[in-house]
Symmetry: C2
Subunit: 346 residues, 2 copies
């Protein structure tokens, strides 16, 4: 079985974006904001948005379940205030929940959090609890920079975030560290801001004692961990110079990397330097890179091919990366099938 731990609903029906535009237009006059009920999307429209997209690709690539969350670049936590973010998160999370109900074998939900710049992360707790307890979601996406490229929030290791972490630990759900779009002209969103955020988060974890305070807290750093595996020697060396414990003790019980690296040499490096226990298969299709690589004739984001091609990878490691680690890092998924999990919440 192959679990893709990183997918977003990037192909949602246009009505979702139209709703968002109405919401944004009403930011200064909340009375005119659209209600949650005003989003009218039929089941057929949801099916049409997925059948020839994520579902077809699952079939073609031979992957089974995608951990599915709202579109990351559309979270745009910097827009409006915490009420704006809450209403938008509810609408997006509800839609993902419907996807999981319509395709209970193929998708399991992961939620967007109603973060807002400068607002204490406590504000995310009710929506996280709702998504986990009522919608059956098994994880969340946590944005280390709700400002969208201005980096004004404290580091992820600051006590600022602790109340949210307490709830995550209590619910036993991990977070994928995932920024949204960039409002800073220096940073291209998917080319710079995403990757920088991954690198930044890794370095924040490396320099902190967060996991002493939260021994069971788990983060997935997406996009292959940003620059971290490529500079693994640099990071081991910096940690050593700072008299930090070895990585195994410092962060490898809590920090995981996905395989969203879109060429074989990158995947091979990742599998060489990061222990197999810390790698979760993912593709983020249909996402940042949608084309076909002329060098291979296959989609850049068809990451299964790269993993399959690494002939020296032991079978046991492959199983962990494709399935075992995801079940362990997302214990609310655990040993169940997607259908069993979804049946309990639909």
């Amino acid at each position: 079985m192959i679990i893709d731990c990183h997918g977003h609903y990037t192909t949602a029906p246009a009505a979702l974006e139209a709703w968002r535009k109405l919401q944004i237009a009403a930011i200064d006059d909340p009375a005119r904001a659209p209600s949650r009920a005003a989003l009218a999307i039929g089941d057929d429209e949801i099916r049409a948005s997925l059948e020839n997209a994520q579902l077809r690709m699952q079939r073609e690539r031979g992957t089974d379940v995608t951990f599915f969350s709202p579109r990351a670049s559309f979270m745009a936590h910097h827009i409006g205030n915490e009420r704006t973010s809450l209403a938008w998160s509810q609408v997006c999370n509800d839609l993902v929940h419907r996807v999981c109900g319509l395709y209970p074998d193929n998708f399991v939900g992961v939620c967007q959090l109603p973060q807002s710049p400068g607002v204490r992360p406590e504000n995310c707790i009710p929506e996280l609890v709702r998504c986990v307890r009522e919608l059956g979601m098994i994880g969340c996406n946590l944005n280390p920079d709700p400002s969208g490229g201005h980096w004004k929030e404290p580091p992820l290791t600051d006590r600022w975030w602790y109340p949210l972490y307490e709830t995550m630990a209590e619910l036993d759900v991990p977070a994928m560290v995932h920024v949204s779009t960039s409002c800073n002209p220096c940073f291209h969103a998917t080319g710079a801001h995403y990757i920088n955020a991954d690198t930044t988060a890794f370095m924040q974890f490396l320099t902190s004692d967060l996991f002493r305070d939260f021994p069971t807290l788990r983060f997935i750093i997406p996009h292959g961990g940003g620059a971290a595996p490529y500079h693994w020697g640099r990071y081991r060396g910096i940690a050593q110079d700072l008299k930090r414990p070895p990585f195994a003790e410092l962060l490898l019980k809590n920090v995981y990397f996905d395989t969203c690296v879109y060429h074989r040499p990158g995947i091979e490096l990742l599998l060489k330097v990061v222990p197999a226990d810390n790698i979760l298969f993912a593709s983020e299709m249909i996402g940042a890179v949608r084309g076909v690589d002329p060098e291979t004739g296959h989609h850049y984001d068809d990451t299964r091919r790269y993993v399959d091609a690494i002939e020296w990878l032991p079978a046991e490691a492959r199983q962990k990366i494709f399935e075992g680690n995801a079940r362990r890092v997302f214990p609310r998924f655990g040993t169940r099938s997607a259908r069993e999990l979804n049946a309990a919440f639909h």
Copy 2:
């Protein structure tokens, strides 16, 4: 011959830092600022600062010449104003010039620019011209974020920077894209800010037509290009989705990567995915990572060992990486020896 294109004077005598402290203390009262002449460092002190440090390591590692610039983390362009930055740059550049005079076989100068947040880059031209024409320096370090982690300057590809690029093109000197310290608590300086800046710059170049406007302009992206080589497929794919030309045409005549990647798998990836014409040997010793890797028994930053160990690297490619490319990218060094170059300016 082995040229290390990326070294900073990280071991400068303590008097330099003391001078800087006096300068900072006088920011609000420039009359009390120390003069350039007030920096008293004897030749013996300079020798002592290098003999058992960079020079010993050159000998031990078998490298010949280091392109040497002021300490990057001390540039701290965010401190004070453009006058502060100019005085500090002059003092630092003069000191590097003295190093090159004392060890003309071992060091060739690269200069710090007197950047200041929000100040037009034109202000750097006189110091760049002085360093190149009077001190014999062959390149400069250009900070894409003089704010120190707040990223308020326009992207490197914006016309804001063009006057400086015109001078660089006229003098035929390349720039290494190199940030300084981080004032943003989100970003660890050498672990996140440095690497993020490299990734950011690469993506800025990828999305722009800068090199149509400046066909001969050359940048070195240090630290192995940040995350770019690890995500080479992602970047090729993003460029393709954006209908950009292939890399060979888009940026490989203008953008180069150094080998400051501190473990063998990282170096191997770099050499696999980036054309040999675009890689310049470097170690940045004595810099961000100073320890000995217990896995190898050698310094993390002894990057020559990693390159030497790649047995599949053709001899011609190795020669380019160790020497040929540096002579080509830094034409003011060109075919000369360091001694010849330094003799002309001391």
